[in-house]
Structures are given as C-alpha cells and as structure tokens.
Subunit: 343 residues, 2 copies
C-alpha cells in the first residue's frame, strides 16, 4: 500500500509538556515519524507520496470555523502578546460556564479550545497539523479512486481533537476528516476502528449523533486512563447516532488475549455495519514497551492485527495516531501494514 | 461591627500560580489577611472573634459531597503519589466529555474539580478554606442572633468556587455557605451583592436555579476579564431562578462614576427583592492600584460604597473576597466597613 507523508510535520516540535501535573520532555516528537518512515522504506511497502493540497472547506466539514480561525493564528497572537516558547491553557470553562460567547482574551480562548496542558501549542502546530490533514484527505481520495488500502503517516496525531477543541497531542482529527471526505465522495457508510491505547474522544464527539459513521474503539478504561472523561462502555451514541458508537474499554494491564478478544467484538460490529470503507486510527501505544500506556502487545502481535483488519475485505485507510516507544514505533506500525498486505 | 477571623488561613500558602499562561508568584497570599486584620485593629472597629466550629453538613448544603471528599484528602493523596509542592490540574472535561463518572486517577480528579491553573492546591488549602467556612457560618449566626452587621475576614476567598469545583483562588464559597445558613436559620430571602472586580461565577452557579437567593454582581466584562466564561448581562437565572440573577458587567477601564451607577442599579434590585439579609462579597480589587484588575476606585471611594450598602437598612454580612494590592487592601476594606458604620 502507498504511504502519504509530508515533512511539514517537523514544524511541530514541542519543548515540553505537562504530564499528570509534572513538566516533562514531550512524548509526541518529530522522531516518531522518522522511525515510521524509515521502517516503511526498509520494508519497501510501496511508494511514499506527497499529499495534494486541499481547501480548508474540507476541514470545516469536521471542525468549527471559530476553532480553525483560532488555531490558525493562535501562536502568532500569543507571540504578539509577548508570549515566548510554547503556549498552554490556564483557564477553561467548567460545568455551568459558557462556551458560546467567544472571549477576546487570548488565554481565555486557549482554554476555551483545549482540554489539557499536555498539548503544547507551538509556532509550527498549525502548519504541521494542516499538512497532516492534507495527507488524510489525500489518503481518502486514494481509496475513493480504487486503492484497496493506504497509510497516512502523520503527526501530530488526531483522534483526541474534537469539533472545536485540541488536546492529547492532537489538533486536527485526521481520521474524522478522512471519514467525512469519503462520505462526501460517495460512500454511504464509513467505519472508524480506533486501536490506539487511548480512547478517541474527539472522533467519538464528532460523530456521536450520526449513523453514517460507525465509531469502534478499544482502549484503556477511562476510569484510570487518559482521556479519563470519555470512553465508557455505556456511550452508545445519541439521536440518529444511537447504536453507532461502540466503546470496548479494557483495564490497564489487560492481557494480549483479552485485547484480541475485544478486537474480534469490534470487527464483528464493523462487519454488521457493512460500511463502504474503513478507517483505522492506528496507535501502537498498545505496545508492551510504551512509556505512557499499559497494554502488552509485542511487536510480533501487530502483523496479526493487520491480517484481522484485512479479513474485513474493506477499502482501508490507516491513519497514524499514538505510540511513544519511539525506537519500536516503526516496526510495530509497519508490522500492522505488512500483516494486512500479506494475508 | 464584629470581625470573625481565624489564623488557620495561614495554612494556605501557595508557592506560585500560573497567571494567563505564565508562572508567577501567587497573588493570593497570607499577607492579605494580615493587612486587613491590622487595619481592623487600628480602626478599633469592634471585637475580633474566633469562629465557632460547624459540622461539615453546613457546607454540604452548598458543595457536593464528592467534591468535599476529594478536596479534604486531595493534597495528601497527591503527596502519597509522589507529588511535591503544590498541585495543579493538567486535564479537564471539555464540552461533550463526562463529569458524572468519577475517575480513579488523581490527576483526572484534579481536573474534574477545577477550572484553572491559577489556584494552587497546597498542603494547607483544605484546613484554611474549612476554617474560613467556619468564619462565614459564625458570621451568619451573628446576624441571625440580631447583629446588624459583621465582617468575615477570611482567605482564601470563595466566590469563584462552585458547587463542585475550585478555581480563581477559591475552594469553598464562603458567601454561598453563609447565605444558605441564613436561610436554614429562618430567612426567607437572602441577597448577595458581589462587588469584587471579578464575576462571582461560583455563587451564580450555586443559586442560578433558585429564587430564595438573589445574586447581583458588578464586575469586569468577562469578554476580556477573568473568569471569562460567565458573568454576561444576559444570564438572568434558570427555572425558579429566572429574574434572580443580575450581572452588571463593565468594560475594563470603566470610570468610577460608571461603577457607582452600576452599584445604584444593583442596590435598586436588592431593594425590590426585599431580602431578610444581605451578604456582600467584598473584593477590593476594584482599586486603581490592583495588579490584576482594571477599575479605578480610590481609597477614598470605599467609605461611600459602605454608606450606600448601609442605606439598604439590612442585616449585612461582609465576606472578604479579592484585592491584591496588598499594602492598600486593609485601608480599602476597612473603608467600606467604616463607611457602613458611620452613616
């Protein structure tokens, strides 16, 4: 399968993040994509393509104009106000507060549009995220033009970004943008399978009220795992979307066998939905060596994951999400892709 | 009038805070109360009383049990997990996320129960806030037993704390706790007049659906001023509370004349409500020299404020809120109290 990659991701290079209250080196770093690209090239997977350029209108199908307008200029505005380094939120609207009135104050807008202090807004965040969205859109177009599968090699990741907020290292929801693009190009139903360790809260939020996108996620139980405030098993969708959201949380420390059992449940649901295409939010922080996650898949498990996904027989777009064991991320991601191709 | 004071406030001593994204020395500091106490004593206002001890049930009339349960043990739990210094939130539930499921993860609960990173949770925050609540309850009892007025000299302040969250330097909402106590002791209607520079979002949230407490607030327009996400003029109450919430936002930089004009509007509303008692959330960060606020009252304006409040002819409990021009806070607060007494 072809890989879509844009070196513009390098523009997003965080100095540090706040992780569970502590200031630490950023986990989501440039080297992640380097390792994956090297593994793709070593495996001679297929061509590595540059993305095409897409209009912002394709992104506004998923993200609110007010959020995009903020994000596009946020770091420049921060700098113009004397801010140095990366920007972090410091005040946010809790229950009972309003999100409808747009504050003029910059710090207030930072907080209005984000949900953690683990996502540094850098001078290059917009450029990198925007280039990543172009990769996702290009991947959707490849599927639409008949490719069986493609791999969107992007960072920062996307699945925590909601319709109008960033967080969890994510700014633009690449998987959601690609899903919407597939619908706009003629698909009637698209399924998103999120196998990242962390619940894809942004993707769920974006499609929660809709039946044209099925969202299935296997992840660490939010009762103890990030993003904490979404991803429970009783979240089944709302309105037209009831029945089209399936969360399969597993306790931190769950076995590989229980992970694959949950995957089978998820794949069954995808089969029952009979979508026209599948998007895989491909995080490999399920890996036993991941520094911030607590599942225990081995590198040898990832080809099996790829083969099981292939067994659905669907046009499939893989979109890179998390995975912070940098030295192994390439082998694990490419393991999935080769498992898919080998079957 | 008598002052109720408890030296236990000294237990809350923050190292620093995050102010609009920058790490700075804490504005809400022990010396604030020292200066006010000295001014009270110099002015020979009346006795300075220790608070009585009240049962937690009096506080649970206003704050949720789950929040109190968290707050009581939060810093000890933080330390037991290896946390050092003061604790700050790092991830919180944005729109579309859930606040009903209580996470086991400590960092998640920090974020669930707070709305900014400007409110350091210290080893002594609970002890200080709890002692402050006792002061507020003692003040309410003084009014109930026939005193015309009393002054609750506490810190940390309270008016930003909601039914189940902290923020804005506030942990327990002293004004709300006192208002509820007055109702529980027989008042039919209590009015709260909030003259702090910042909107009393916590007080508003607590009483927003009720008609037995009128909330009137004069403050910097949240479009540019903290707490940003509440305090607009169109917030009039909900359900039974419709018509019992009056916000009088003024633009940052508003003149003293326009401030007193807004006060007159607020006083008229209080008169129309004909409450049995009045609570004044007394912040003096309306002062021209305040380091984080943008009104321009002079020290000589505060006695006039006190006299106008007195003209309502109501049993009146003054509860200390903000004011960060430390050297002047005592004169400004006592100016209000003497203005009330002198009329």
């Amino acid at each position: 399968m072809k890989t879509i990659y844009n070196a513009a991701h390098r523009a997003h290079q965080a100095e540090h993040e706040f992780f569970r209250g502590e200031k630490v080196a950023a986990f989501e770093k440039v080297e992640r994509a380097d390792w994956v690209l090297r593994a793709v090239e070593t495996a001679k997977l297929d061509d590595v393509l540059q993305p095409k350029s897409f209009d912002d209108a394709c992104i506004e199908r998923v993200h609110s104009p007010r959020y995009l307008s903020f994000l596009r200029r946020a770091h420049a505005e921060y700098q113009s106000l004397g801010g140095t380094g990366d920007a972090f939120p410091s005040v946010w609207p809790i229950r009972g507060m309003r999100s409808d009135a747009l504050p003029e104050n910059f710090a207030a807008r930072m907080g209005l549009f984000s949900f953690d202090s683990g996502t540094p807004l850098t001078s290059g965040s917009w450029a990198a995220a925007r280039a990543g969205a172009d990769c996702a859109l290009t991947g959707a177009d490849l599927l639409s033009s008949g490719e069986r599968a493609a791999f969107v090699l992007t960072r920062p990741p996307g699945h925590h970004a909601g319709s109008d907020f960033f967080g969890g290292y994510c700014f633009l929801n690449n998987a959601a943008i690609a899903a919407q693009r597939l619908l706009d190009l003629g698909c009637k139903r698209v399924a998103i399978l999120d196998v990242d360790y962390h619940h894809g809260n942004g993707t769920q939020e974006i499609f929660y009220g809709r039946d044209d996108v099925l969202f299935v996620s296997i992840h660490g139980d939010p009762i103890t795992e990030y993003p904490f405030f979404l991803g429970h098993a009783d979240e089944c969708g709302a309105g037209d979307g009831v029945g089209f959201n399936l969360n399969l949380p597993l306790p931190a420390g769950a076995s590989v066998a229980s992970w694959f059992a949950a995957l089978e449940t998820g794949l069954q649901r995808v089969r029952g939905y009979a979508p026209d295409a599948l998007i895989v939010s491909l995080g490999v922080d399920t890996f036993e060596g991941d520094p911030i996650s607590h599942f225990s898949l081995k590198t040898s498990d990832y080809p099996k994951l790829g083969a099981l996904i292939e067994s659905l027989g669907l046009p499939t777009l893989f979109v890179l999400e998390g995975g912070y064991a940098v030295a192994e991320i390439g082998d694990n991601v490419v393991g999935v892709l080769r498992g898919f191709e080998a079957r």
